[in-house]
């Protein structure tokens, strides 16, 4: 089996008496979608934050591409190739779609501390930005202000900006949130293609999407992983059904 790109080893984080993450081990291998599911308040966001670098764990470490990145900042991890999309769209709202994508391409290329040449005339950056917009299907709206985009388009742009970084792995926090049936279908198809480019650690509430997409699923309940395995294994796991899927989730 190929070496995992991302490894989480024994991560723990407590807020006072609340154990938000309890001894979590998981990994992400090339070419796969590893879905992280769990009921509200299970600690998914806390875990994602620790992997992305926004929150320091109490114990354990995060390895990216064989390198211990636990002490690195969010920005440093992004530069190493950890592409992240947020649960709530996190974009520069005053900017056009293209400007947001160029910002990503600029982050990838570096050289932010340049003060003279107009950035929106930089052919290399524009090319990278447009390629990413093309890939998510936003090429037609590149001049539209981000604040005027529909919710679904913002989610797409979020992914496009992550793409401009040419990441080695994606960290996606609920990319389907609020997309509607049609949007979810399109995003599902898109992510299925995207995972060949870089594997995806996917936090998602939409169970149909998760079951359709994931190569592996880890189930997080009360800060701990109670089951991890293929879709079949997790669906059949009695503990998971009891703790999480309930009656309505039974296949």
């Amino acid at each position: 089996m190929t070496e995992p790109i991302l490894k989480v080893e024994g991560l723990s984080k407590a807020f006072g008496a609340l154990e938000a993450s309890r001894d979590i081990w998981l990994d992400l291998r090339p070419g796969e979608i590893h879905a992280l599911i769990g009921p509200n308040g299970a600690g998914k966001s806390t875990l994602i934050q620790q992997i992305a670098g926004g929150l320091a764990p109490d114990r354990g470490r995060v390895l990216f591409d064989g390198r211990d990145v636990t002490a690195l900042s969010t920005a440093a991890r992004a530069r190493l190739g950890l592409g992240r999309t947020f649960q709530i769209s996190s974009l520069a709202m005053e900017y056009t779609v293209l400007q947001n994508a160029v910002l990503g391409a600029l982050g990838r290329r570096g050289g932010v501390f340049r003060f003279f040449r107009p950035v929106m005339r930089d052919a290399a950056l524009l090319k990278a930005a447009r390629a990413a917009l093309e890939q998510v299907g936003l090429a037609g709206v590149e001049r539209v202000r981000t604040a005027e985009l529909s919710h679904g388009q913002r989610r797409q742009l979020e992914v496009a900006v992550a793409l401009t970084l040419r990441p080695r792995a994606f960290l996606m926090d609920e990319p389907m949130a609020g997309l509607g049936a049609e949007g979810t279908r399109a995003m599902t198809a898109f992510l299925r293609r995207l995972k060949t480019q870089a594997p995806i650690l996917l936090v998602e509430h939409d169970m149909d999407a998760v079951f359709a997409l994931a190569d592996r699923i880890s189930v997080l309940v009360y800060g701990g992983i109670i089951a991890s395995g293929s879709v079949q294994e997790v669906r059949g796991d009695p503990e998971v059904r009891r703790a999480y899927l309930g009656e309505e989730g039974a296949p």
Binding site: G54, T74, A76, A78, S90, E94, L103, F115, R117, V119
Partner: protein, 327 residues
């Protein structure tokens, strides 16, 4: 965008024609008034670089304005009294040469902004406002109790500093120098705003998490912006001191910080030429309303209130419409 550009041109044209008219009509006072507007505009453009682009609400830019002023005052004072500024470890003489004074003012205020920014930028929001204010107040009280350079009374410089043998005491000459600096500063700032740095800085203001997620550190962007901002305001301070041939702790007072912010808000936060309009309007109001009543600040307050409540984009927002993203 088009309207904004025409407004920029119109504004700069008025600032060129009006003093020339005043010169031909032999109204030196009006030239001096215009010079004040132009110098305040430079200070405002400096603040706007941090405030408009980076969202850094600094209520301490008087610190940089004052440092620029004292850079001029101290250098010129030593030159006019023929006393060295420093004898050990190396001999430093005073100077009456504008280029030297400008360079010192820009470097000293930039360095101060770097230090103040490095500490202040660890906070945000109201705390940032308060800590920048506190730093400026430190300078204010320090200069008040610094007898070597006049303390509370300030320092008078008898003759305006020199530049290439020009007669800088001639109001129109000094106006031309100030206007030239305004053009240079506007050019530098508008280039920077559209360059990679401007894109990243403004993005950090809009959404810091986004900037981090693309691998950049907002703190560094803010710090560089704050340093440049302080250096520009420091240059304005040196020019202002030269205009009055006088420096005093008032330049460091929090009212000065407030006034610089008023230029920015009146003109339009985040518009490169906004503070130029704001400073010009401020001087105009000061002149017109000041003639009506000595309590003219009450009227200014009412106008400011109106701008904040009904015209958030200031003069530029009112005339040129909403800001359009650069293409």
């Amino acid at each position: 965008m088009r309207r904004e550009r025409s407004l920029n041109m119109a504004l700069m044209a008025v600032l060129l024609v009006f003093p020339l008219w005043a010169w031909s009509a032999d109204e030196p006072f009006l030239i001096t008034l215009s010079t004040r507007a132009v110098i305040f505009a430079i200070a405002g453009v400096g603040l706007n670089f941090a405030l408009g682009l980076g969202g850094l609400v600094s209520l301490g830019h008087a610190a940089f304005f004052g440092i620029g002023g004292y850079a001029m005052g101290i250098l010129a004072y030593h030159a006019q009294t023929y006393t060295p500024l420093m004898e050990w470890p190396l001999l430093i003489e005073g100077s009456k040469a504008m280029p030297v004074i400008w360079a010192v003012a820009i470097m000293a205020s930039g360095l101060a902004a770097l230090g103040i920014g490095a500490l202040s930028l660890r906070t945000t929001g109201v705390y940032f406002i308060m800590i920048t204010l506190a730093f400026a107040q430190m300078f204010y009280f320090f200069t008040i109790s610094w007898p070597s350079y006049g303390g509370e009374d300030g320092l008078s410089i008898y003759v305006r500093n020199g530049l290439f043998g020009l007669n800088t005491m001639d109001p129109i000459t000094f106006y031309a120098i100030s206007y030239g600096w305004l053009v240079v500063v506007l050019f530098v700032v508008s280039r920077a705003a559209r360059a990679p740095f401007g894109l990243a800085l403004s993005a950090a203001r809009q959404n810091a998490a986004r900037v981090q997620a693309v691998g950049q550190v907002p703190y560094r962007l803010y710090l560089v912006a704050f340093t440049i901002s302080g250096a520009i305001t420091g240059l304005a301070g040196a020019l202002f001191a030269d205009l009055n041939r006088f420096v005093s702790p008032t330049m460091f007072s929090w009212q000065t910080s407030g006034e610089i912010m008023v230029f920015v808000i009146l003109g339009g936060v985040g518009r490169v030429f906004g503070p130029v309009a704001g400073a010009a309007l401020f001087i105009l109001l000061e002149h017109l309303l000041g003639g009506v009543s000595e309590f003219w600040l009450v009227y200014l307050g009412a106008i400011l209130l109106g701008v904040v409540l009904f015209a958030r984009g200031g003069l530029y927002g009112l005339i040129a419409g909403r800001e359009v993203a650069h293409d």
